[in-house]
């Protein structure tokens, strides 16, 4: 088709567009609580990365004569029933727990989100097939589902992530589906179609970004849940094998001694709490920063 040429008066300022992510970052920075959350997370992440430097004793340095020490200058968080420093184990455990939490939630968000978006967008038979399979997954208690996946695939870090991730897919699928259904009827989706956008573009560019807020909130809460589920798996012996430090496993390991040596459960518990707290603060801030309507 021949295009008519009627370019309006040339503009002196050439396409100098502010980056949208820079804008989000600027708004996030204004939120003090979110920055506190981010700071805690960065500290935890650094601790996990440099665990070998911060805690050079390693996570499995058993010194039997030093067992059950309360926190002191050598062992900041005390020692456990095998004489291993709780501090060393907590720091090394950050590696495992943080990656389990974040990766398994990412698995759940990506697959759950995509399935939910497809179900909500296409409706009808697609919706039925996807959501009924999600219902089947939901019908099985998630921990039981995770147990069966781990027992089928075997233990190990990645399989634990996979098991925890898969068992939380239905929740995300439902959330996304619900918001997609409300979005689908909006006029701007029709307008996008009227300028010739195809389905995948409409889903990726218009529907998913608009349904991000509930996913972010659910996701940050979900990291906590994932760490705890992984802990549950470790507890029944299906997660990581014993010498490996993992906050949940440390919690359940210290359970027997909680009456006399509560530092064994206190510190891993505090770490889980701090992580979840930080993620929630950041998640709230991120949700606000991503919503242009709340600008300033």
């Amino acid at each position: 088709m021949e295009k008519k040429n009627n370019t309006p008066a040339p503009t002196q300022q050439v396409a100098q567009k502010r980056n949208q992510w820079k804008e989000v970052w600027r708004r996030l920075r204004q939120n003090k609580m979110a920055m506190v959350g981010l700071a805690i997370l960065i500290i935890l992440a650094l601790a996990a990365i440099f665990a070998d430097v911060i805690a050079p004793n390693g996570f499995d340095n058993q010194v039997i004569k030093d067992r059950f020490q309360t926190p002191n200058s050598t062992h900041w968080f005390g020692t456990d029933n095998l004489g291993r420093g709780v501090f060393d184990r907590v720091i090394h455990g950050a590696r495992v727990s943080l990656s389990i939490g974040i990766i398994s939630v990412s698995i759940a968000i990506v697959f759950g989100g995509l399935l939910g978006a497809l179900a909500g967008f296409y409706g009808g038979r697609v919706d039925n097939v996807i959501m009924r399979s999600m219902d089947i997954l939901l019908a099985i208690p998630s921990i039981l589902l995770a147990i069966s996946i781990v027992s089928a695939l075997g233990g190990g870090l990645f399989n634990v992530m996979l098991a925890v991730g898969i068992s939380s897919i239905p929740g995300y699928a439902r959330i996304v589906r619900a918001s997609v259904i409300t979005l689908k009827g909006q006029e701007f989706i029709e307008a996008a179609r009227a300028i010739g956008a195809n389905d995948s573009r409409i889903i990726m560019k218009h529907i998913i970004p608009n349904s991000l807020a509930p996913i972010i909130v659910q996701g940050t809460l979900g990291v906590a849940g994932a760490i705890l589920s992984a802990a549950g798996l470790s507890f029944i012996g299906l997660g990581l094998s014993p010498p490996n430090p993992e906050w949940g496993a440390m919690l359940s390991g210290g359970r027997d001694y909680i009456r006399d040596h509560m530092h064994m459960t206190l510190f891993p518990g505090l770490m889980i709490m701090a992580t979840i707290f930080a993620l929630n603060l950041l998640g709230d801030g991120l949700r606000d920063a991503l919503d242009p309507k709340l600008k300033n």
Partner: protein, 327 residues
């Protein structure tokens, strides 16, 4: 008639199939849009104006909507039978649409500039920077400073949002612009501005326009031709001046009689008695016969065919002998 219509709708039927019954939204509709002209599509709420517009781009939501039969010919190609992928190349590029409510037809979390750029990038093989530049130019064209490229729809007023929507729809120099009640959601002063803008841009971009409205004042201002719709079909189609001076169909006459005239003293306006028929249960024969002051026996049985009164004036009414009977 020497001019060939750019877009022609032939015997279109669109139904919405719901559990409560089949809604016959469009019944045997005929329409022609000529290059460079503005056609006003006028009708009451529920007459099927929006469905007609959607059907022209095959955007009727399916389900429940279904184009049952008929043709939509754009430059001789039938859009009803076209492949979805080919149709996407036409949508927004050659035929584009302005929606009724600017408040909801923009994506709330995308900057207005990016929304204009989206259409350009979809249809024209240009890189991002060029597309951004062109989107900025489009903003200027509709009278919005391009510094506002990075702002979000909620930072704009209703009239400005509608300008953005107009910018989006014109960004690819379409041949046909469908405007679905573009001014209904705006207040009167802004209405005038937006209409003026659309009129200017229509000339500047050399676009044909289908203006859907229920406001005969808007029609008088911007249109060249007018099609009057009733219960899913066009019952009268004429040049604007002809239609305003010598309306032929009893429904059209009724419409004009129910508009107050500032130059005459009239005691009372003459409304058209009755209501639009229920589209799930249309009257037999001519759909207007239960309300028509001139209803005859034949009106109850037979749906009237097209009668050409003159070159560009046709009507569907038994009061005027149909084309084939004259021959």
């Amino acid at each position: 008639m020497t001019k060939k219509p750019l877009l022609e709708i032939k015997n279109l039927h669109v139904h919405y199939i719901t559990n409560e019954g089949t809604v016959q939204a469009i019944n045997d509709l005929n329409l022609e849009l000529y290059p460079g002209e503005t056609l006003g599509l006028v009708g009451e709420t529920g007459a099927g104006k929006t469905t007609t517009a959607l059907a022209m781009m095959r955007l009727v939501p399916n389900p429940p909507g279904k184009i049952v039969s008929g043709e939509v010919l754009y430059k001789g190609k039938n859009l009803v039978e076209m492949k979805e992928a080919d149709l996407r190349k036409i949508r927004g590029n050659q035929i584009s649409m302005i929606f009724q409510d600017p408040m909801t037809s923009l994506n709330p979390i995308m900057t207005v500039g990016d929304q204009i750029r989206e259409g350009i990038m979809l249809h024209q093989k240009v890189d991002k920077a060029t597309a951004t530049k062109r989107a900025m130019d489009m903003l200027e064209v509709v009278g919005i400073p391009m510094e506002r490229y990075d702002e979000y729809p909620h930072q704009f007023s209703g009239g400005m949002k509608q300008r953005v929507v107009i910018a989006i729809s014109l960004s690819c120099n379409p041949e046909i612009l469908i405007a679905d009640e573009p001014t209904t959601a705006l207040d009167v002063t802004i209405q005038a501005q937006v209409l003026q803008l659309m009129e200017n841009l229509k000339v500047e971009f050399d676009t044909s326009m289908l203006m859907i409205t229920h406001d005969l004042g808007v029609v008088a201002k911007v249109c060249d031709h007018v099609a009057i719709m009733y219960a899913g079909t066009v019952i009268e189609h004429a040049q604007k001046h002809k239609l305003y001076r010598t309306p032929k169909h009893p429904y059209t006459i009724g419409l004009f009689e129910s508009i107050p005239n500032v130059h005459e003293t009239t005691e009372r306006l003459k409304p058209i008695i009755g209501l639009m028929p229920d589209p799930t249960d249309l009257p037999t024969g001519c759909t207007f016969h239960p309300r028509c002051p001139h209803a005859m026996d034949i009106c109850k049985v037979e749906f009237p065919e097209v009668t050409h009164l003159s070159d560009e004036h046709w009507v569907r009414c038994h009061l005027y002998p149909a084309d084939k009977e004259v021959e």
